[in-house]
């Protein structure tokens, strides 16, 4: 099971999907959401990667690992 956390007013919204079935509805919905967020200026990071590997920016849905944090578009304050 993979998790995408989208930062929002409630703290974060969690989207979970199983990578096993490439055509599953949950996976397709997660992919659509992920791509829509990134196209609107959000940035995604792979986190908690295990084995001491550092967090990493990710733009490709197929490259997601166990946990991903999506930061909505940032602007200068």
């Amino acid at each position: 099971m993979k998790t995408i956390r989208i930062l929002d007013s409630s703290g974060d919204r969690v989207v979970e999907f199983d990578d096993g079935e490439a055509t599953s509805l949950a996976r397709r919905e997660a992919q659509a959401l992920f791509e829509r967020m990134l196209s609107s200026g959000s940035t995604a990071f792979k986190v908690n990667r295990g084995e001491g590997r550092p967090d990493e920016k990710v733009t490709d849905f197929s490259a997601l690992e166990n946990e991903t944090i999506v930061v909505p578009r940032v602007v200068g304050g």
């Binding site: 929002d8 007013s9 703290g11 940035t43 944090i69 930061v71 602007v75 200068g76 304050g77």
Partner: protein, 174 residues
């Protein structure tokens, strides 16, 4: 002058996109402006959604949830700093150390120069979410952070920030 030709009318037109189905986008609720000159006006933009999101982001439950996520994402040293001082430092390759303070504007301080940076999330989020976003951006996509952030080059740190920096064992270089 009616509201339609005044500043309020221009504001309403500015926010209203004729191709945008606001009703479906905002859960079928349309905001109603109240007050002199705009009584009963169907403004067509989501005041209620906007205020509800702002209130939710400031609620204790949201902040607690965000704080738990932030704590889970920090390394041991950053977690210790957050617990002791309410802020934490991140190392940015080629740019030195930065301190992320728990406030919403100009809350990223360069410990090398004393400059303050302001980079906010466009959506309403709790402060801990903002701090987490800034940490992730500074550590993994600093070009993006610095291309977006506004910078105040003068040393703007007040006594609170200076005390924090001192307690973190570093000093501002003026």
């Amino acid at each position: 002058m009616s509201w339609r030709s005044g500043w309020l009318g221009r504001l309403v037109r500015l926010f209203r996109d004729p191709d945008d189905d606001l009703d479906s986008r905002w859960g079928g609720e349309r905001a109603v402006l109240r007050g002199h000159g705009a009584r009963g006006l169907d403004a067509g933009y989501p005041i209620r959604a906007w205020t509800e999101q702002a209130a939710a982001a400031r609620s204790q439950a949201s902040e607690l949830r965000a704080r738990r996520l932030l704590c889970r994402m920090l390394d041991g040293e950053q977690k210790r700093e957050l617990q002791q001082h309410g802020c934490f430092t991140v190392k940015v390759q080629g740019r030195g150390m930065f301190c992320i303070l728990p406030r919403s504007t100009f809350n990223v301080l360069s410990l090398e120069t004393g400059a303050a940076y302001c980079c906010n999330i466009e959506a309403f989020v709790p402060i801990s979410d903002l701090m987490l976003a800034q940490k992730l951006l500074l550590e993994n996509d600093p070009e993006h952070f610095f291309s977006v952030a506004n910078r105040r080059s003068e040393v703007c740190a007040g006594s609170w920030e200076e005390e924090l920096v001192r307690s973190l064992g570093r000093s501002l270089r003026v």
